[in-house]
Each structure stands twice: as structure tokens, then as C-alpha cells.
């Protein structure tokens, strides 16, 4: 069955190529595990940037790297692919030391869609979150098509990964050759004419150091944070503040930033200040005037933050909500939080935003800057699997 497998062990995959491969796998899994819950957006962007960096490295390595890693070594045409697949089921089964033609196409597609995925991700990050290199260039509203492209590319890539994996298993079985092991060890059995490639330890060490440094830069803050000074992975754009507002509205609860409701809501709320959720505010007229000016200049209609944009686009024009916690977007974002959690002593009320959102005072409500008190910010893989298998919608 396995022709050309004369007894010689050669190094086919140099260390940087193997490292690229497995780090890419880790990032891919990490990104899928962290995409859904806003709390893990820092993990998600970490995975995304690393994925992007690895792909760029691979493109360079595909030109300047070792023999089997070079693109031109496995740039097979369609006829080769068909020949190869037909061969699998027929007599003429050829064995390739490097990538076989079908595998080669899978790899080019993986790299291509990987680039589409990460670049569209940068656009989503710039548009929806106003972070990353494209912050301020893309508006909230322009980000929707990029989000769609990002999701499409993610599912396509998942499909390609499955195909790639099935291909690897198939080829391993047909040729009785452990290809997964080869991607770890780097070596394969080959004919006597093939020679080993250079391992490139120095480049591998550099690659590894860069990734480790990035891990420390991205997550080191969690190790040094304190109760009073928690680590905020994301810092939002600084919003205008008003001492009058923070004093008058921050005595009984968090001084909700005016970006959380439209101007008409604030007007109505201040107009009926003697009937403020069962409280009478007893504010003086000139204070009310001052509050109104500030609230109108920073209301949700102006969409200064992602939260403002989303809140505002979720409130029908003929409605004037007085509760932030009754806007459909807010409800959707918090529907997965159990009643038991709301009743916890540290939280007590939906209006106690600051109990979970570390940047509630600043009004930025950044993803990843939230923790549910009394819970370690741990990822629950089982819950996640259940929700994915249950086809739960976003």
C-alpha cells in the first residue's frame, strides 16, 4: 500500500511551521469559545490578533521558509487535486511527503478565509467597539456588513477546519501514517532522495517570545489587580462629566450616564421629579435646568458610545422609557442572568449597574469590563457547549 516509504526519517516541518499550526489551533478554539459573551471580548480579541499575526507570519514563511513550507512547493492545480482524490479510491495512490494537493487547497483556503475573518474582525472591533486600529474610522452603523462578513468567514473557516481534519484522518488511515503526530514531531518517513529541512530554532524562539509577551501584556493585569483597583481590559473614550449631575443623581444610585437614555426620557423624568420611582427628588429649578442641559448634550440620541447607539436604536420613536432596565436591548443583554443573581446582596437591583460593570461610573460600559460579583470570571465550557448544541440564538 504505502509505496516510496523507504526507511529514512526526515524533518519535513520546521519548528516555526509547527508552532504556527498549533498556536493557530489554540487561537481558533479560543475565539470560538469567547465570541458570545461580552465579558470575554478581551480573550476574543487576543485570539484574533494572535491569529492575524500568525497568518501574516505564515504568508512570509510561505515565501522565505523551508522547502515544504513554501507555497510554490504545494501550489497544485485542480487536475492534481482530482487526480489525488481519484487515486485515493483507485490503484494509483500517490504519497506526498509535504502537503498533498487536496490538503494544499485546504491550507490556502484556511489562510485566505483566516485573513478575511481577522480583517473583518478588525472592522467590527473598530466599528462596534471603537477599539483597535480602525476606531473612529468606522461608525457604529457602518459596522453591520463587516459583522456579517466576520460571522460568515468564521463559519466558513469552521467548515474548512472540519474538511481539513477529515482529510488528515483519511490520509493517515489510507497511508498508515500518523500525520497529526508528524505535525508535532515534524518528521516523516521518506524515500532516500528527500532531505531534512533546517529546524530554525532561533525564529521559533522569537515567535514564541512574541506570543508570550503578548499574553502578559493582555492578561497580566488580572494578576496584579486589587479589589479597589480592578483591571479593565478595555478603556472607553472619556465621556463628558458633570458634578451637578453626579451629585444630584448619584445619591441614591449610580449616577446613570445620560448616554443611556434619549433626551426625551431625561426631560420627562426631570419634569416629574416629585414622582421618581416612588421617591420625591425635591430638586430646585435651577438645578433641574442645569441637569437638562447636560443630559441633552450627552443623551443616547447622540450615540457617543456603543451602549448609547444600541439603546437608542432599540427604543421606538413613540416611546419614552424611564427605566434603562426596561429597554429591550438592555433586557436582551441581561436575560441570561438568573433571578438568584439579581437578589444577591451585592446587587439587589437591576439599577445597580456598578455591581457588575466596573466602568459604570464612566458610562462607557465596555465589554470585558464586567464581572458578576460572587462569581469567578471563569468560562463555563459545558454551558457553552450546551448552548451551541441547543442552537441558541444570539
Amino acid at each position: 500500500m504505502s509505496q516510496q516509504k523507504a526507511g529514512q526519517t526526515v524533518l519535513v516541518w520546521d519548528i516555526p511551521t509547527r508552532m504556527f499550526h498549533w498556536l493557530l489551533v489554540v487561537c481558533f478554539v479560543m475565539a470560538w469559545l469567547s465570541y458570545e459573551d461580552n465579558r470575554y471580548l478581551d480573550v476574543h480579541t487576543f485570539a484574533g490578533y494572535t491569529f492575524f499575526g500568525l497568518l501574516l507570519f505564515r504568508v512570509v514563511w510561505g515565501v522565505f521558509g523551508t522547502h515544504y513550507a513554501r507555497f510554490k512547493e504545494f501550489a497544485y492545480g485542480w487536475s492534481d487535486v482530482f487526480g489525488y482524490i481519484k487515486g485515493l479510491f483507485g490503484e494509483d495512490m500517490r504519497h506526498y511527503i509535504g502537503h498533498n494537493p487536496a490538503g494544499a487547497w485546504a491550507i490556502f483556503s484556511l489562510i485566505g478565509f483566516g485573513l478575511v475573518l481577522t480583517v473583518s474582525g478588525l472592522f467590527v472591533l473598530g466599528g462596534e467597539e471603537q477599539h483597535g486600529p480602525l476606531a473612529g474610522i468606522i461608525t457604529f452603523r457602518q459596522s453591520t456588513p463587516f459583522r456579517e462578513a466576520h460571522e460568515f468567514a468564521a463559519y466558513t473557516l469552521l467548515l474548512l477546519v472540519v474538511i481539513h481534519f477529515v482529510g488528515v484522518i483519511t490520509e493517515s488511515l489510507f497511508h498508515r501514517e500518523n500525520l497529526i503526530g508528524a505535525m508535532f514531531r515534524g518528521t516523516k518517513q521518506a524515500d532516500t532522495e528527500s532531505t531534512s529541512v533546517r529546524p530554525h530554532r532561533l525564529i521559533a524562539a522569537t515567535l514564541f517570545t512574541v506570543v508570550v509577551a503578548y499574553v502578559i501584556a493582555a492578561f497580566g493585569g488580572y494578576l496584579t489587580e486589587t479589589q479597589e483597583n480592578p483591571y479593565l481590559p478595555f478603556k472607553g473614550k472619556e465621556l463628558p462629566m458633570s458634578d451637578t449631575w453626579n451629585e444630584a443623581c448619584g445619591e441614591c444610585h449610580l449616577a446613570f450616564h445620560p448616554t443611556l437614555l434619549p433626551a426625551r426620557s431625561w426631560e420627562l423624568m426631570l419634569e416629574q421629579q416629585e414622582d421618581h420611582f416612588d421617591d420625591d427628588l425635591f430638586l430646585e429649578d435651577d438645578t433641574i435646568d442645569e441637569l437638562l442641559i447636560y443630559a441633552k448634550a450627552n443623551s443616547a440620541d447622540l450615540e457617543q458610545t456603543e451602549a448609547a447607539w444600541r439603546m437608542n436604536s432599540n427604543i421606538p420613536a413613540n416611546e419614552t422609557p424611564l427605566r434603562i432596565s426596561e429597554v429591550s436591548y438592555w433586557k436582551r443583554k441581561h436575560e441570561e442572568i438568573d433571578d438568584e443573581i439579581w437578589k444577591r446582596n451585592e446587587i439587589k437591583s437591576k439599577a445597580n449597574c456598578g455591581a457588575c460593570h466596573l466602568d459604570a461610573k464612566q458610562g462607557t460600559f465596555e465589554d470585558a469590563d464586567m464581572r458578576i460579583p460572587g462569581e469567578a470570571p471563569e468560562f463555563d465550557a459545558i454551558e457553552w457547549l450546551k448552548s451551541v448544541l441547543g442552537g441558541d440564538e444570539k
Binding site: H253, L254, F277, D280, F282, I347, K348
Partner: protein, 134 residues
């Protein structure tokens, strides 16, 4: 010499602070007396502080402890919003009972919320008499 001088300054500052402190409560109680109330009793203040009132709308009992909680030397927690309220006892929080406007505002709000009405001059005087001794 120098430290002696600093000590004098510290004592003067402390006395001034204490003066302001006594000032706000005294001024308010003077006002209440002028309105026909008095004399004031800390015991009565404490009794009212604990006394429960049924809120018709929510069906729940309310008292001053609903937010300030039982131990006034410790931080309280707003009954509805969960926000932490700094301790009310002037002995642990020297900013308490120093600002007339602030006290007035909170009497208005808290009496209305807890009792469903404004407090009388007599009641306010008793509350202050109780709180200042904490």
C-alpha cells in the same frame, strides 16, 4: 516650638470643625424651637428610627433602618437600589450632620419615603438629637 505651634493650630482647627458640626444641628433645632417644637429627646428619636410603617403600595414595612441598616457606625445599603450609603454616625463619619441644606433635603426625601409624609419639627428635632449622640 514648631510642633507646639502645629498642635495649637490642630486644636483650633478641630474646635472649628466641632463648632460647625454642632452648628448645623443646633441651628436646625433652634429653628424647630422657633416653630413651637421642643424639647428634644434622643430616646424618642431612637424609637421613631426603629418604628415600622406599612407602605400601602408595595405592602412592605419601612423604617429608617431600611437603608441605613441597624448599625449606624457601619455602611448602609439603599433598600431599593442596593447602593452603599456611608455610615450615618458622626463619630465614624465626621461629614455627617454638618450641612443644613443636605440634612433638610434628606429629611424631606426620607420622611416621605418612610412615613409617607413630611416629618414635623418635633420629629426632626428628636431624630437629630438621637443621631448626634452616635
Amino acid at each position: 516650638m514648631k510642633s507646639g505651634f502645629a498642635r495649637v493650630i490642630a486644636v483650633v482647627l478641630f474646635m472649628m470643625a466641632a463648632q460647625v458640626h454642632a452648628g448645623a444641628v443646633d441651628t436646625l433645632q433652634q429653628e424647630y424651637i422657633a416653630a413651637g417644637a421642643g424639647p428634644f429627646s434622643a430616646a424618642k428619636g431612637k424609637e421613631m428610627w426603629i418604628e415600622k410603617h406599612l407602605d400601602a403600595e408595595s405592602g412592605k414595612q419601612r423604617n429608617c433602618q431600611s437603608c441605613h441598616t441597624e448599625d449606624l457606625s457601619k455602611p448602609g445599603k439603599h433598600a431599593k437600589t442596593g447602593k452603599v450609603i456611608e455610615p450615618l454616625a458622626p463619630s465614624v463619619n465626621n461629614e455627617r450632620l454638618t450641612d443644613i441644606k443636605f440634612i433638610n433635603k434628606w429629611f424631606k426625601r426620607n420622611c416621605k419615603w418612610t412615613l409617607g409624609r413630611e416629618c414635623t419639627a418635633q420629629e426632626k428635632g428628636d431624630f437629630l438629637e438621637y443621631l448626634r449622640g452616635l
